[in-house]
């Protein structure tokens, strides 16, 4: 029998309540449940398994430190998406500096020389996404990496559905210009 979204939400909330009472095993169960989803999200963005796992660890560490303050006003998955998004934004910001300082120049060059593979296209696309304004970037990340609906994006980011749509549209235009210029 498959669980509905409401049942899932209830299960998550029950696990969080158990964790808040001091049982860490409930936290472990939550991590195991959302681990692949979170790592997959970061892998789509970074294209690097190690980096994706490191970022996922950061997310779960933040979760551990903040889960005691969870107020049960939203679904746990929404809460986790928000942490994912913030962590992804921080990573984009860090990566921007790295690109600026040409620290990853050698790696880029190697990738460019081997082939114009899908991997390179992905990297090119995510480099362009990382240069978008924060709001546009958040919507694109949620749409592309998590395949979320505008409604879900509006719940996570706090912007209206229409604003999310407009931001996504502007982001596509910007990406088109940037990638065509390259």
């Amino acid at each position: 029998m498959s669980l509905t979204i409401k049942d899932e939400m209830k299960n998550d909330h029950e696990l969080i309540k158990i964790f808040q009472k001091g049982d860490k095993s409930a936290y472990d169960r939550l991590v195991r449940k959302y681990l692949h989803n979170t790592v997959g999200f970061f892998y789509t963005i970074t294209g690097d398994r190690m980096v994706a796992e490191d970022l996922a660890q950061d997310v779960f560490l933040k979760l551990f430190n903040n889960l005691r303050n969870f107020r049960f006003q939203s679904a746990f998955s929404t809460y986790l998406y928000r942490i994912n998004l913030n962590t992804a934004n921080s990573w984009f910001a860090r990566n921007k500096w790295k690109n600026l300082l040409h620290l990853d120049q050698i790696i880029n060059q190697q990738k460019k020389d081997t082939s114009v593979s899908k991997e390179w296209l992905n990297k090119e696309l995510w480099d362009a996404i990382s240069k978008l304004p924060k709001k546009q970037r958040s919507v694109v990340v949620m749409r592309v990496a998590e395949e979320l609906s505008y409604k879900e994006i509006s719940t996570i980011t706090g912007m209206s559905e229409n604003t999310a749509k407009v931001n996504f549209h502007h982001a596509l235009q910007t990406l088109k210009e940037v990638l065509n210029n390259d």
Binding site: Q57, F60, L61, F64, L125, R143, L172, L175
Partner: protein, 128 residues
């Protein structure tokens, strides 16, 4: 469909096989390290706060003012500094000089006691 939309459509969330047990082990290590770091930060902050509090309140510092006050009070009462004995003191009765001489003897200042008495005699002669 425009090129960028094609690229985005190609972006499917990739599933990678993560070793869950290894991941959990690393995560637990990080949680433990984070807990220790928090404790260190808390303890350091508490120590810095206590040190600042001690500096502000000057707890444990010697009260020089009180010591000086006691010294000056003692000097005023006993008048052990003979070069600064003021006239008022010399105009006191003989009893005062005798007490002072006894005190100096008790303290082991024999020659000073003798000198004090000589000085008293000299003053008496001058007055006569």
């Amino acid at each position: 469909m425009i090129e960028i939309e094609k690229k985005i459509a190609l972006q499917k969330k990739e599933s990678i096989n993560t070793n869950v047990d290894e991941f959990m082990s690393k995560l637990n290590d990080k949680i433990e390290a984070s807990r220790i770091n928090r404790q260190i930060i808390f303890t350091s902050s508490a120590m810095v706060f206590i040190i600042l509090l001690l500096i502000v309140t000057q707890f444990g510092a010697p009260d020089f003012e009180l010591d000086n006050y006691m010294l000056s009070r003692t000097e005023n009462l006993i008048e052990t500094d003979f070069w600064n004995i003021n006239i008022d003191s010399l105009e006191n009765e003989q009893e005062y000089f005798n007490n002072m001489a006894y005190f100096l003897m008790d303290e082991g200042y024999t020659w000073e006691a003798v000198e004090l008495l000589d000085q008293f005699k000299l003053i008496e002669k001058e007055q006569l």
